[in-house]
């Protein structure tokens, strides 16, 4: 089965450090999402791309978060500087938007802990 691959699986970092999370979407998918999941807020959409172009990043704190797709096989989410409130599980998802539509596939997530 095709999979969305996220690295690293777990990351512990100190406050103020830069964090980079990576995602390899499924080959051929044209839409990539970044979500953050916490107990309090649930799944929040941070940013998403269509054909590598950013469509919406209104869910991201702009001063510290950035999301890019340098090529079709890689999406990155950076936090600089990181803060304890950024501790969460970050998910990447990809899908092929069109007709018919088969839904989105999520990766296993990156669990980020900022101490």
């Amino acid at each position: 089965d095709a999979r969305v691959t996220q690295t690293p699986r777990d990351k512990v970092t100190e406050m103020g450090q830069e964090v980079t999370m990576r995602c390899q979407p499924i080959l051929g998918h044209n839409t990539v999402f970044w979500y953050r999941q916490t107990m309090m807020q649930g799944l929040e959409l941070l940013a998403y791309f269509r054909n590598r172009a950013p469509l919406d990043d209104s869910g991201m704190p702009k001063d510290r978060f950035s999301a890019e797709m340098p090529d079709a096989t890689l999406a990155t989410l950076k936090i600089q500087p990181s803060e304890p409130r950024d501790s969460a599980v970050y998910f990447c998802a990809s899908g092929l938007v069109g007709s018919p539509f088969y839904g989105y596939t999520f990766g296993s997530g990156t669990r980020l802990t900022v101490v």
Partner: protein, 110 residues
């Protein structure tokens, strides 16, 4: 902004029991999806419903979409421990972005 409300928040039942969880929207759904998420993993798509009144079955899971397309339910027959997880409903908003409800945590005890 669309709000998706899921109920109950938490459900703990014995193996073999039946259960229903609900998803309600403040506005008409564009395209409703149900996902299941197991601990340590990402959500996995169970079903997509689009047409009001639609009913879909996936083995012991039955999904119903309200006629007015503002509510949906997921019914599980004879629940098993493997059904344990977080059940999420989501709507595809304009631009094909997914907005999620807070989810229902289901625990099935053997």
């Amino acid at each position: 902004t669309q709000l998706l409300e899921q109920s109950p928040q938490f459900l703990s039942i014995q193996e073999g029991e039946n259960l229903t969880v609900y998803c309600n929207s403040s506005s008409v759904f564009s395209s409703l999806q149900w996902y299941r998420q197991e601990p340590g993993e990402g959500p996995v798509l169970l079903v997509t419903v689009v047409t009001g009144g639609e009913v879909k079955k996936l083995k012991r899971l039955t999904f119903q979409f309200g006629d007015a397309r503002k509510d949906s339910s997921l019914h599980i027959t004879a629940a098993q421990p493997g059904d344990t997880g977080l059940y999420l409903c989501a709507d595809m908003e304009y631009g094909n972005k997914l907005v999620f409800g807070a989810g229902t945590i289901l625990r099935v005890k053997s």
